[in-house]
């Protein structure tokens, strides 16, 4: 079981979350406590136990590749925080 303290700044970067200094301190402590509790799982003998992703048996679900009705573009774009014509508008991603 991992015992390392959680590196909140690094994890927040991975999670795309800007945190204040106060949050870094508070969440760091709270999540450190939580990891202390979940470390109890180290007591379990799980070497030969299969992992369960989902309890009820699942199978791959496919359907015929055919056109079906879907939400129209205007409905979808009307929910966007910013749009431009028929597109979602986002900040520049590729540098000039």
């Amino acid at each position: 079981m991992a015992n390392d303290a959680i590196d909140i700044r690094y994890v927040a970067k991975l999670a795309r979350l800007a945190l204040t200094d106060d949050e870094i301190e508070r969440f760091g402590k709270q999540l450190g406590d939580l990891l202390g509790h979940v470390n109890a799982l180290a007591d379990l003998d799980i070497a030969s136990v299969p992992a369960t992703a989902q309890v009820v048996e699942s199978r791959n679900v496919t359907r015929d590749d055919e056109l079906r009705p879907c939400l129209d573009r205007e409905t979808v774009l009307s929910a966007a925080p910013q749009r431009q014509g028929g597109f979602f508008r986002v900040p520049r991603i590729i540098a000039e």
Binding site: M1, A2, I6, I8, V11, A12, L14, A15, R16, L17, A18, L19, E23, F27, Q30, L31, D33, L34, L35, H37, V38, N39, A40, L41, A42, L44, I46, V49, P50, A51, T52, A53, Q54, V55, V56, S58, V61, R63, L71, T75, V76, A79, A80, P81, Q82, F88, V90, P91, R92, I93
Partner: protein, 495 residues
Amino acid sequence: MSEIIERSAAGIAAQVNAKQAGALEIAEATLAHVRSVEGEVGAYLTVLDDLARAQARRVDERIRAGEHLPLAGVPVAVKDNMCLEGTRTTCGSKILENWIAPYTATAVARILEAGGIPIGKANCDEFAMGSSCENSALGVTRNPYDLSRVPGGSSGGSAAAVASYEAAIGLGSDTGGSIREPGAFCNLVGFKPTYGRVSRYGLIAFASSLDQIGPLTRTVEDAALAYDAMGGYDPMDSTSINKPLEPTAGSWRDDLRGLRVGIVREFDTKTLGADLDTIYRKAYADLERLGAELVEVSLPTADYGVPTYYLVAPAECSSNLARFDGVRYGLRVDGADVRAMYDSTRAAGFGPEVKRRILIGTHALSSGYYDAYYVRAQKARTLIARDFERAFAQCDAIACPAASCPAFVFNAKSDPYSMYLMDYYTIPMALAGLPALSVPCGWATPEGGSLPMPLGLQLTTPLFAERLLLDVAHAYEAATGHAAAHRPALGAVRA
């Protein structure tokens, strides 16, 4: 308050189908009652006056045309993490505060098709993460039996709405106990079906391998009616179970003769204090009095439920909530570049509990920690499911507490882990995917409180044994009638 809205869903539907009452009249009476109690209760984030009236008129037309509808005219509270086309659907979060759902969740659509009337979108802990409704960023919901106490969560708004007669059916979602715990706290039946029995299409995802929609109702029969209406295969949800749904409502068994009910050795009710110990022992004795044979069963890994859940659920949530990035819907906070826009949008849009779970989930899935945390938790989940399989070789159903205490006062659980422990009794069933429900089993006045608060008996059965589960609960409810002992502490209801 109009007498008809105090009736059960079954009672209301019977009147509407018999043309003794109109759906529109019931909708108007419910909306008027909502106006009189919402200032105290705060169950709804959005009240759907126009939609409720329009749907009620459609139901009345269908009844006039000769149709019989199982939920004709029944007022319904929809948890605000379920999509209902054209209505604001917030998940109790600032990031979706103004989002209008462009389509309707399958479970909601089926309830409406069966004649249900959507009264409003009910408050919940943000993205269904919490056990008290206190994590909602958009409103405070109070327990109708003591307004100084929480309604439970995360489906606290749906529970408070049904308990205060602002609806007869509350739609909730249960990931680790979010239907059963508020059910217990609000004197209701809170029923989580087997994972995959009710479509998750249109339920905004928290932890996809655990999330399950189910009803909160004032009677077991109403829970069965709601389940029969919304359950069953849905091609829009790839994890929906393609198995025929056996109707559960009606033709109930009178007793529990021939059934073995398991009492869990590890769940010693003495640890809950003398009052609760007495109530739960009495509940088990009542099951025996009804003809059940009580057998002791063991769930040796049940203690690992909370730690397992707090790796699996946050891991899934960190992945599911990645979609809230300020591009396609919801809040956007501008930034210098796209990365700053993502970071600032999510920082402003998510509340502290959601951030904590995203962080812990991201950590548990990150390189170097994945096997130690996430995979280990998935293996622990296997052990918990196996515990139940072994237990069910010795019994037909298991009985235990739904929660370790009655509803607590606001701000009582400021330490996150103390709140997580509220789901101690409900998490193992969620991890194992089992159908489980909470049914009222008695009242206790908490220390420092002045009003008696309800307690819930949790029952669980093997996968897909919903019919048996509801049957046991119905027999228990009929023999004990604990729910009727007290009325909500609301002027408009007591008057």
